[in-house]
Amino acid sequence: MNEKAILELKDLDVSFRTNAGVIHAIRGVNLDLQKGETVAIVGESGSGKSVTMKAVTGLLDENATVNRGQIHYRLAENGKEEIVDLLKLPKKELRRRINGRHIAMVFQDPMTSLDPTMPVGKQIMESMLLYGGRSREEAKARALELMNLVGISDAEHRMKYYPHQFSGGMRQRVVIAIALSGDPDILICDEPTTALDVTIQAKILELIKDIQKRMGLSVIYITHDLGVVAKVADYVNVMYAGKIVEVGNVNEIFYDPRHPYTWGLLTAMPDMDTDDDRLYSIPGSPPNLLHEPKGDAFAPRNAFALAIDEKAEPPLFKISDTHYAATWLLHPDAPKIEMPPELQARLERERKEAAKYLA
């Protein structure tokens, strides 16, 4: 683990036992998170992005088996630093020492992650009273501070409100305040804005960014919205069928994507300047992981698939020190295949627009 890394997933492999058979949901995932950085995991539903993070927080369902892999976390406690493997930690210890105090999570739907029968102030104070070793007064003062931090005005009064008295955006602010109450160093946001309106979405993302800067947090975003990724991420991991198929810093992924799946995702997103008659779409749907895919899992949906894609799974090819993609198109012997022209035109336009800011 390098000096600055705070979390490192190594070859994580998870499967689920179901009535229908074994679902191989995560097939060898590697992921790094450096201190103070924001990493995004992008993918469709069923690609395994949420399961990966559930493994980190020990929230995997009963029927899950971790086949192999390690999750190294740099645990800083009482002025000492040690590296622990979160998968080896007993569940009880994970709950007591790590969850909330070191790694906190913001869930998608604030209505289901808050207790409807408890005033929000009490919910924010709850974990502080249980684990924080604070007195009631201290916890209350801290809760007020947190509510101000997440932009809830008139906090003293609103502490007594129940979740249903808040709007969706305000509720999500409460959830963020709860996540921050244990002073974590990693914040995992699982689709934090999917249930919210666009105008509020932008506000919440700006809020998380602001808090991250102030508290020096490292943040992991799980999302399927590339617009969100562009706004917040430093590094991007594109996930497909339980594997990371492309990883790079945000500019590499958005201005120089190499994997056909990333091409598809970018092209399928209508931007404000799309004037074409037809929207590009990725044909078919994601594979059912009940059946182990043979070769490249994306091949059946890939217009650029090569013959080898059906036989062997592509390894991660290196493009730059930070940019890797798992596609045979990058093999030196592969035929030269360009990305679709509409994407090329769009990237050209975007690079030009971006150049205005970089100059």
Binding site: A202, V229, A230, L279, S281, P283, S285
Partner: protein, 307 residues
């Protein structure tokens, strides 16, 4: 001048909350939809966009105002003939395909139900043939008629929802957030399908959504809703290239774009009508150039247009 297919005038929809209190979900909204076009309705949750769709198709009884559809007034009490005409010519696609499809019915029967009610098929063979044809049209295969909804993926289920809405060849389809629950890669498939079907059948869409980039892509004209008021309406170009109302501007500024260098530097414009001193009830719809119109008082209009 073409005749509008649907003409909504001063539509109001109130809901009683408790004794003596009503919630005004829709406050005097007017718009028109012409045959074969797509009208996009955008706004945040609680803006009344879904309510408008449901009032127009008469899942609610409008409190006030008129809804003129296919040459007939449908806002008031409906007699049997008017109801049959409405149900056959206006259909709806719902947001969540899982909760809007009966899990205990075969897909063929879900799609064929409209045919049974309106006696469109003379015998079982013809019904099966029409269902099969419809399934092919939405990109499924005729063998799928025997399956149950849970045997489909999300995108396929929404295709079933579309097939059910289109089997009677309606003139207007209300699509209420019909792609919001789908994955990005599947959204594009469904939107393309809707466009293809429109090209074949010339049906009109009322496309209700909060995703502006999708609305921009599919709509000919757009209406922007906020707190039950239609604050701005116009062609897609007019709304996106020359927004006038501050709410529209704030909505546009919040749309994320897949361009990190631009996106990271942008902050969204916030908007609160109370802070800006705007009372929607005082404004009237002012026509600007072309089909563009904005809800404003005389003074606000001067301020926003800089004239």
């Amino acid at each position: 001048m073409r005749e509008p297919l649907l003409k909504v005038e001063n539509l109001k929809q109130y809901f009683p909350v408790s004794r003596g209190r009503v919630f005004k979900a829709v406050n005097g909204v007017s718009f028109e939809i012409y045959p074969g076009e797509t009208y996009g309705l955008v706004g945040e949750s609680g803006s009344g966009k879904t309510t408008i769709g449901r009032s127009v198709i008469r899942l609610y009884t409008p409190t006030e105002g008129s809804v003129h559809f296919n040459g007939q007034e449908i806002a008031g009490p409906l007699d049997h003939a008017a109801r049959t005409m409405l149900r056959a010519n206006m259909q709806m696609i719902f947001q969540d395909p899982m909760s809007s499809l009966n899990p205990r019915k075969r897909v063929g029967d879900i799609i064929g139900e409209g045919l049974d009610i309106h006696h469109r098929a003379s015998d079982r063979a013809q019904r099966a043939e029409m269902v099969a044809e419809m399934l092919e049209k939405v990109g499924l295969s005729s063998a799928h008629a025997e399956r149950y909804p849970h045997q489909f993926s999300g995108g396929q289920r929404q295709r079933v929802g579309i097939a059910r809405a289109l089997i009677l060849n309606p003139k207007l389809v209300i699509a209420d957030e019909c792609i919001s629950a789908l994955d990005v890669s599947i959204q594009a498939q469904v939107v393309n399908l809707m466009k293809d079907i429109q090209a074949q059948t010339h049906c009109a869409y009322l496309f209700i959504a909060h995703d502006l980039s999708m609305v921009k892509y599919i709509s000919d004209r757009i209406g922007v809703l906020h707190r039950g008021y239609l604050v701005e309406t116009g062609t897609t170009e007019e709304i996106f290239d020359h927004p006038v109302h501050p709410y529209t501007k704030s909505l546009l500024s919040a749309v994320p774009c897949p361009n990190p260098e631009v996106e990271k530097r942008r902050t969204s414009v916030s908007y609160d009508p109370r802070e800006e001193g705007i009372d929607y009830a005082l404004g009237t719809l002012h026509a600007l150039e072309g089909q563009h119109a904005v809800l404003a008082t005389e003074e606000e209009l001067r301020r926003w247009t800089g004239a």
